[in-house]
Symmetry: C4
Subunit: 510 residues, 4 copies
């Protein structure tokens, strides 16, 4: 993309240009990496883990083995809410049983300030949300379908008054919808805040339980709260979800996001800020260059895959920059408003969500930036051989992939249909695909398949391994092997290529 | 199979025909997929899982780790029957300890209507069913062999009167035989229904236990019941089995089938019905075509593998259609009779069994339907190369397979004989084969082998890996690699083939 | 080996001879398989498993997780001996708490007759069995080395009188030495029989515990007993071992052999006996043939690998036959003497040991017998190609193997030296070798290595995978690939070979 | 390196020389191995394991499942310190509840003498060690950063007097710094010795707990002690570490080193000593030879890779020898001083650390010594072929590796950025690299990735497997395959090489 100058005339000049471009690019890559790593904290994992241990991997009952993730019924949920949840949220005494001073209250693990009040939120569906089959119509009068927004039950119930018994819309609660295991849930619902002392929170939960807050219509309960750790300047946004499928039972899951919302605190943070500014400048510079190239090259410009990569990277860069600006503005205003109203729920979820997307996008940007390195090192003969092999066999590989994926999908579908209702790894078509992928790498549970169907299970497994692992994968190898031999044969003759090492050596000799 | 018109004269016409056929076939495939997916519910897995958690993965005792599957003795069985089983079957109060209203009784997880009464069924063998070795004949007077129908004990025992103490034949109980872990059990036995309240059921079980319902002759106990979930319109047929081998101890297993017996309830179901009718029409159409082709082609017709595939698919289609009709008729009549007699056991097992077979057959039909796609895309050059490779190396691969399987079976047998009595994975010849297969993929338990025999275990493992994983698998690769090189060499010259892409391009140019 | 007739003259005759020999051999193989399978019971695994669950996988304490194999101290041993061991050995009441009648006493799981009395046996070493380092000589006065026969302590101790406190030699006890995890233990020791009622046995164990039967010198305790199950005609010889290394702590292991000592009970057993006689005849026949061949061929005879295989198989056959005769004689006399003296320990261990060796030898014999099949099918062209490839690349593979194993052993030793004291999988040089083998197949625990050494662990792992998995294994593949291409190139020209299929076809045409 | 004599003139002479050198080298290698194995005890693993079971894998509470490694809070730490730690350290009665005699006190497992007094040591950071973000500055007044030496809190606190409440420097305590999971900790801190009876030790711990010895500033607590087992002449240096990250929670880890510090006790030890002397002589001999060679060969000398290997090995040898001398001197003096002052903490950690480094270095020396064997066997033709293949493809492999590692690092970084905060295996960049390596071998946890990000997780996994496992690894294979074919083609013509086997045969014929 940078060959705007005609450098064909002189090989030495071309090499010179290439090296200059390579160095420039390495500087750019370094800045990009600094910016990216400024976003993540190496302590984030330990933070997430500590919070997870307290709220997710905790035993429901002191001498049992079941944790939050093993919740199987509404009764289990109440056991969790009244026990480990309250114990985790409200730290009120030291290990020697001395109660905290007022200053020390409101911190989880002594270190993590609980922001605002935790909130329970529940969603229900209507009792007429599906039609009962004729044969059972006499006996079964109410039918509660799987959750979907259209059939949400928004009427008050139970004690009627109190936030927990009246429906609040998505706007009132200012909450995002959530993609759960079983459905995507709306942002409204029946919310209940938990007060700032353990005794009061316990009472609130007790009242909900006593008056059957959850019943047959309940499809999901969320527990939301956020904490801030000043020591490492990280927020942790915790969302505990218990879904109740129409089949009965319950499925618990959790989302914990440890994110850095306050960006510029330490002096290193300000160095990262400087790099961010350099990154913006570099992006603008590359944009101009690409525009120039495109203007000169026209249709030819679009034919190079490298140019497409450039365009993609620039687009991602602009997304990253825009969000960076947006985040900095929003975070402060949000934080101010949240901190000024202590008796409310502090919803950092939206901010956290977007911050996560931002992290993902910049991660992908860096990923592609690494790949662009290939452009600069392909002048090396061996490199050239390898990339020639790749491009030479590309068409065959594509043909092979079609073949491979027809077989693969046929097996994935078969697996889904045969084992779907029994084996977790085949319970959806998507899982089925990934499971077959994992079989190739040797990660599978044959006994589960055999248990699901003692005849078809082994047949499925053995034929799959034979056709895909033995035959198709080896054919893939044959394709690449053949292409490489060809390329090797071609290049070994024309060996008089100009090489960068020669250039460098000559440089030394001077 | 569709080249009934002579299309050799014009390549363009041939391509046109091919494309037309491909599109027709894709439509057919789509219909087939809709019909298939109309049969399965994505919620079925969650349903099975919820029921499994309640009855199978449940702890025998509140603070223990053993579940239903860990039952090891008759005493354990009674612990299960008196505890988790009754708790799972009879839901009589809410989580706040308020008892249910009468309407709410009889539902598992509040949602799943228990159909009819659950049933325990027991089978026994006679005390003279095997001969004791001479040396022990004096001391050991009774001998209870492994279960087989011929030696079933059908005489009344214990309290004599009461269903549980008198033998009922397969016809009286209207039950299917069952393929268990240790034997295939007949459908008769000593049945005991459990009443519709927990107190009465507990009393019935207590009486059985007190009077030694199970003794040395007992070989298996079944617990059968079915539930219906109106929310998702699925039946779940539950069968819990505890087998008592003649060696002592017990082996528990379970079968849970979540199936859709009432097919046409929602509007989407009626759309599926329409597709089913289209499927029948398509089947008839293809049948006629095949007959015509066969009539024209005669012996030549049978030489093409594609035609054999067509015949297989048609046969499967007719099986599917016949069963579909049969199911629709039977289900309704069965359901009516079952619902009209509430105080009886509701046996959905037979129906469920056939429905499962139906699902399997249609799954296999779709699987083959995907493979038929290859027929239509083999005009593509790369595809052709790949399938040529396959057919070229087919003979060598076959020869290789013979070699491979002699070695493989020799090892499987050796493994079975050396480790059979110690290691589960080698406990039968079949398991031994699958275990060796899994070793190739990297899924094995070396320590178990080493424990079973500290000298032969490692030798067996290392030589097997060397010969099969290192030598034979690589030879397989060599065969495919060599064939591909040959085919590639042949086709790269004759490159002037007519291609579908050319045709499509020309079409655009017009 | 059977080409004693000169068949070179006529190809058709040769094929005829080959087919005749093949069929003869298949008959021989069938007989051999029947004889082999007559030795094993498919129920043996279930028997072993049931006994293992009762004595090995049983929890030490009702609400704990530790089993027999988790015994870590002498205190744990006594917990086991007083609890699960006695509960497993003495079944004295039904699940409804009704005590057994006298006839029913003495059976484990109601089915397995306890033969003779169970026995505890303990071995000790002397307190001066090693020398204390000078620096500690003042403080530490006694030193108990790892067990070896030379330093066994044979003096009476504790209560002095009573079998448990006086040494009995190997001859007195008539016991075999035992190859344990830490050492090979002699057959003598301090034995204690357990009486036939739970109360008395408990008292005996209590007395041992009270008087410190086990102390610092104790190196191992054995618990021995045998049971016989008349239902399936199998003996189970149980040996529970707890070793006490000089480092402190304890290591428990178990050996359970389910074997068929009484061979001829059912009518099928007599059919097997007939086959055994046929096998003896066949062995004699082949012996004579081989002698003839050897006499004719002289030195040439020894050059064929097939002849060596024949000799090996014949030797194994004679070992099998001799032992078969010996076993039949011994078992009966042993059993008679054992059954006539009920108040003693019934030692089936020696018999069981030899029976196991017999089973292993016959298993290996059948294994080789399968390989001999290759001799008869190598006339097929594809087969010939494959075996030519193998023999062609044999020398290169051998060279490769030397290279491979130098690298492999260098890594194995390095792994042993670096991780040996920390990671079980590298704790001996042998384990280290197997672990490296398992890494190639993808079965390893990287985290353990990393934990043992955070720097060398990952370096070791990554370089090993690179050199062995990436480089050496692929070189192996290259060797085989290259050989196959050569062989394929050679044979594709000379394609006019006479084939067995032609012969068979001609046969049909007649 | 040993071709100081010009042997080109006569092939037979050359072979003779080679064989002589090979034999000399094998003798050297044997001595080296004996020296190395004299350093390790095969019982070391069992020793480590026994100690680990007592202190690390022990349950915190008798009926719980959590062990030392599951400590999650300061409260858990105290539970451990007051329970299992004291139970493990102080063995005061036999299994029959009889208390020990005075001689028997002070031994763990009856066998392992506790050297000196165990010690708790704690490190704290200052409350102003980081700056709180502006928004929270009002509410959060103290900030405790991750541990680093610069911000250590060295002021006295709590009860002020008593060692546990005043800071002791690294020199006072004579302790090494420690590389923990979260940071490298200094050797100073607040130490507390535990007295030699359980009652007193319990009281000391109780006092610490009561007065809040650990608070928000605490970053790590060490538990240190050493034991000596006279039976097997091994020391075990135990270090239990509980780190408290600034995020809250706790991370426990342990280091147990079983080492042989007293080298010359048994007669075998003196044999090893003799070998050690021979090793020193051999090292000197080889040093002289290398110097001669280098003097003759000059620059040419440095061009051979074998010579570099020689130099490396000699350097390692001298390090080994120096340390061996140092260790022998230091150990005795240290031990004397330690044993003479019984009421103090016995710090064997430094000695143990250096002994471990010594073991690692000698292990690496032996590793390279094995590789040097290749030099002597490369005269064999097949060997030559293989090593030619390696050297021929080296350049291509290098080019490939660059390509491979760019892709690999791009993925590692992406994985770290996407999954880092959620999945342990990606929680650092280093872990991310190893995890991707392990995926290639089939050891991974797909479900964790999917859970961390339901969209990017599977995409990441599938594309990685496709590009790296399918494409790149196969390309690697193609490179090696191609090189081997070339080399094979070249050498098969020039087959008249002089071989060692010929020489040996001729030797026999004479
Ligand atoms: Ca694998």
């Amino acid at each position: 993309t940078r060959f705007t100058v005609d450098t064909k005339s002189d090989k030495a000049l071309q090499v010179k240009t290439t090296i200059r471009e390579l160095i420039t690019y390495l500087v750019y890559l370094t800045i990009l990496c600094i910016v990216t790593y400024g976003m993540v904290e190496s302590t984030a994992y330990f933070y997430t883990k500590a919070m997870k241990e307290l709220f997710v991997d905790v035993n429901l009952e002191p001498d049992g083995d079941d944790t939050f993730l093993d919740i199987q019924s509404m009764a289990d949920f109440w056991t969790y809410a009244e026990g480990p949840l309250l114990d985790g949220l409200y730290w009120e005494e030291w290990y020697n049983n001395k109660t905290f001073s007022d200053d020390e209250l409101g911190y989880i693990y002594h270190e993590n300030k609980l922001l605002g009040l935790p909130r329970l939120r529940m969603l229900r569906v209507r009792s007429d949300s599906c039609s009962v089959a004729e044969d059972f119509a006499d006996e079964i009068t109410s039918c509660y379908a799987s959750y979907s927004r259209a059939i949400e039950n928004t009427s008050s119930f139970g004690l009627i008054n109190g936030t927990a018994w009246t429906y609040h819309t998505e706007n009132e609660l200012d909450t995002r919808s959530y993609w759960g295991l079983l459905a995507t849930y709306g942002g409204g619902g029946f919310p209940q805040l938990l007060n700032s002392t353990k005794v009061q929170a316990n009472k609130a939960i007790g009242s909900l339980k006593e008056n059957l807050w959850m019943d047959r219509g309940t499809r999901v309960v969320f527990i939301d709260f956020s904490v801030y750790n000043a020591n490492i300047n990280l927020f942790c946004v915790v969302k505990l979800v218990v879904e109740f499928p129409p089949s009965g039972g319950a499925f618990a899951s959790s989302t914990l996001w440890s994110i850095k919302l306050l960006r510029y605190v330490t002096s290193y943070d300000y160095f990262v800020m400087a790099c961010e500014i350099l990154f913006v400048i570099a992006t603008i510079y590359y944009t101009i260059e690409e525009i120039l190239e495109a203007a000169i090259g026209r249709m030819k410009y679009l034919k190079s895959i490298w140019n497409w990569l450039d365009i993609l990277m620039l687009l991602l860069s602009y997304v990253v920059i825009s969000f960076g600006v947006y985040r900095t503005i929003t975070v402060n205003s949000t934080l101010d408003s949240l901190l000024s109203k202590p008796g409310q729920h502090a919803d950092f979820e939206t901010l956290a969500f977007w911050q996560m997307q931002y992290n993902y996008i910049i991660a992908i940007l860096v990923f592609f930036a690494w790949f662009k390195l290939f452009k600069y090192i392909s002048f090396n003969k061996t490199m050239n051989q390898l990339s020639s092999t790749l491009s030479k066999c590309a068409k065959d590989v594509l043909g092979f992939c079609i073949m491979f994926f027809i077989v693969f999908f046929a097996y994935a579908q078969l697996g889904y249909l045969i084992f779907g209702a029994q084996v977790k790894d085949f319970s959806t078509f998507g899982d089925s695909i990934f499971t077959l992928f994992r079989i190739i790498l040797g990660d599978f549970d044959f006994l589960e398949m055999e248990k699901a169907n003692r005849i078809l299970g082994p047949i499925f497994f053995v034929t799959y391994v034979f056709f895909v692992f033995f035959v198709l994968l080896n054919m893939f190898l044959a394709i690449i092997n053949d292409s490489y031999s060809d390329v090797k044969g071609d290049t070994s003759e024309g060996d008089d290529e100009f090489r960068i090492s020669d250039y460098l050596l000559r440089g030394f000799e001077k």
